[in-house]
Point group: C2
Chain length 148, copies 2
DNA sequence: GCAATATGCTTGCATATGCAATTATTTTGC
DNA sequence: GCAAAATAATTGCATATGCAAGCATATTGC
């Protein structure tokens, strides 16, 4: 009824929505953070200097810059992240994780890993997991686009 | 640094967010609907009687029942969907697509298919597409859970 | 048959998010 | 070197969404 590309894209959205919904409840009750707050801190950890501007965060998370501004404000207030200004460009305000934020991320990553395990609960082969990893990697937008 | 399950789950969310963001703009400007409105109409089309209660829609879309109520109201107003009451249970109000809604869905599906094609633009083999399809299918929650 | 419980839907309130406009700063073109 | 354009961040306004409470209708237990 639909071509294979359409079917795959629909299944991708379906699985992602399911997984995100299953995460949301546990993240909120156990760690007191949202999935997006978790992903924001993960992006900080993975960034080269462990810090990112709001604009960079917005691009990586596929949300608007204003969303980042409003997400970061309460995270600063509760001490998960801090700010770090750039000496050469006074417009830039880097977001950095505090020690408390790093610990929160570490805890949340354990929950994430557990939930991720549920996704592959029905005996997947190592080969399959590797293939899926490569396929998903190929589906991400070109890095060049991200830097633009 | 992370186990393969975690990596795959993270990539899944990343790809899905990217794809959803790329859809959102074109759906809004070309078809005047949101991605979620599109998915809602798609669920109606795929339902056995081509109609679903708000509660069923909420389960399938992984959103709250109140969200469905508020999504459907403007869609009714602009004539994309109508309502269909159940003779035996006066609490039930089925959502059904109007002819206009079906045409809108058909148009949007063409856009969706085009965007889905971009996801697999770099020469994927038929085998790979089939494997991905099966893998994503295995990752969806059990149907039994959905009906509960 | 009726009270207690469950179910489907809606609504009040709080939070989350995007877009466009605004401000502050930097970069570019000449 | 300076005006124009670009960039980073914020804010006002509108929309989107979840949770809990409320209402109407069905179902259950006795």
């Amino acid at each position: 009824m639909m071509d294979i590309h359409t079917t795959n894209a629909l299944r991708l959205l379906q699985v992602a929505d399911e997984f995100r919904a299953s995460l949301a409840g546990e993240f909120s009750s156990v760690h007191g953070i949202s999935v997006n707050e978790f992903l924001l801190m993960l992006h900080l950890k993975q960034a080269t200097a462990h810090r990112l501007s709001r604009v960079d965060l917005a691009k990586r998370m596929h949300v608007s810059a204003s969303t980042i501004t409003r997400m970061v404000a309460p995270m600063e207030k509760i001490g998960l992240v801090g700010r770090d200004v750039d000496a050469r460009d006074a417009r830039l305000v880097f977001v950095v994780a505090t020690p408390a934020g790093q610990e929160k991320l570490s805890d949340a990553l354990a929950t994430f890993a557990k939930r991720a395990g549920y996704l592959f609960a029905d005996r997947w082969e190592e080969d399959e997991l590797g293939q899926l990893s490569q396929m998903l990697h190929r589906m991400t937008a070109r890095k060049a686009d991200m830097l633009a």
